[in-house]
Symmetry: C2
Subunit: 348 residues, 2 copies
Amino acid sequence: MPVLRADELQGLARQFFLALGSPPEAADRVATSLVRSNIVGHDSHGVIRIVQYVKAVRSGRIDPRAEPEVEQEGQCTARVNGNWGWGQVAAWRAAQLAVAKARQAGIAGVALYRSNHVGRVGEYVEEIARHEMIGLAFANNHGGAVQVAPFGGRAARLSTNPIAFCAPTSGFPILVDITSSVAAEGKIRVLRNQGKQAPEGWLVDAEGNATTDPGVLYTTPAGALLPLGGALGHKGYGLGVMVDVLAGALTGALCSHPEAKTVGNAMLILAIRIDAFAPKEHYYEEVDKLVSALKSCPPAKGFKEVLLPGEIERRLAEQRLAQGIEIDDETWREILQAAQELGIALPA
Amino acid sequence: MPVLRADELQGLARQFFLALGSPPEAADRVATSLVRSNIVGHDSHGVIRIVQYVKAVRSGRIDPRAEPEVEQEGQCTARVNGNWGWGQVAAWRAAQLAVAKARQAGIAGVALYRSNHVGRVGEYVEEIARHEMIGLAFANNHGGAVQVAPFGGRAARLSTNPIAFCAPTSGFPILVDITSSVAAEGKIRVLRNQGKQAPEGWLVDAEGNATTDPGVLYTTPAGALLPLGGALGHKGYGLGVMVDVLAGALTGALCSHPEAKTVGNAMLILAIRIDAFAPKEHYYEEVDKLVSALKSCPPAKGFKEVLLPGEIERRLAEQRLAQGIEIDDETWREILQAAQELGIALPA
């Protein structure tokens, strides 16, 4: 498997988006976002997407030149229209706007709609936390691409509807970035491609029978992922519905339902300035004590230590920034082929 | 088992709080809140708490005359200091303040600290949704009463840290009111009192061994509840940490850690005015389509239909408002005894 430095990979990805007609700033943004996903270990949201994005631009689904527009702007609220350009550009704009408004008002909400794939949702709340604020984000698939069954149901009705949260501490930020389903669809796709079985309790087939065959998501009629929680799946389902209302209905996008044919991401982003509520010193003192209490917890059988939310990503980032990023052979082959078609020079 | 009408039960509960020295408005508020929990079927948060509250007032932990104070008020943010009075009074004040601010600003966040038990967290987001807004709430136990192990750990480090969400639809509101642990502590207490076993995957004993014995939460050293998610418990754990930061550190209260001796509730409440982001018509159209899509889902084996989040509570409420509320014999005996001690007249 080829191993590339993060900056090499970024430079390569950037060339694709320039070749597709994006302005340099947008090309940089999308490339940075994809490579950052690889750096923190979320390869399903990394450069594997380049080829998919090339196809989406060619089919007209992504407009590589579109600029996001700010609509319905208030002192602490706004809606960003992605104009079906790059999701990473529109979502970044939404996060920056949330930070600017929360700096003034203490709290801000920014809605995003008509956006393509934003990539790793955690990226936007991380950016908010970098400004000493707490970030929260809720995203759906703009109404389309439903793959998750409601609790007590046997057909897909919701998208995987992630929740992301990032909060600063005196050390590394706490980062939560989770789907309300048992897993992201990308994980099932990887299992299928590797010829592996899914864990029990993740999937049902089109008749509603429990299965470990990841292929059931890709048949017609299709099976479904289950909501987080197993026998307590009403909780994961509740979170999924919550996300769908916040990201789908409130933003001006669409909720998950059969009439919604649009696929992309819609998202609500919240930024909360810490000292609008409590003195910063108090906040850091308490968060740091929470971190110490969690890290001091004796490990369960089969575990070496208790990790903080986001700690795995941080460790992987250190490793990959030092040692480079492995790209699997199939992804690399597809990237090389697409590069040739677009006349892109490859790293030596 | 005695069966009382909701208004009878409310009148009885009110007398207790008056007898303890609370002003009439506060006595009404706490009584209404407790009985509302019984009405929607959350008996663990209902009038069973009267006797516990009487003890807490006598021990000085609840000040029945304390008034909540609004501190650090901005245009769309505020902090409410409960002054260790009734949690239901302080949290109601916080919810009303969030509604008033969101009406002006579009979005508002109100922090609550130094509050006793607020009861059912869902009550406050329901109240926000009644004003055609979306309500979100995150609560911890003010740093104390930790009962939940982190993922990969075997000792309690977090409280059950609930998330509540309520959103209006053209019909009944969608209500999500869930702990980030497998269950609320009250459920384990009920199982222990009934001599029953807990489901597998809910509890570990003080050595970290999986157990179905609900007694392990009440030994010294104690065992722990597990986070929501089973093998995917990193997700429930992530949500629990998120709630602890929002409710504990941001509000001026305490996060869950060994130095935190305070027990009560700290909470962050958010109110979001729908038309600050998208036209109301669009919101209702999309939410209603989501509701139809979910209700049309074919049921899984063992289920008759797919329920919306909050639908069980709504059905129970219809039933209990029509047929009265059953109080278990032990709770009734305790209430009668406490009534006698306080010189309270009982319903005929």
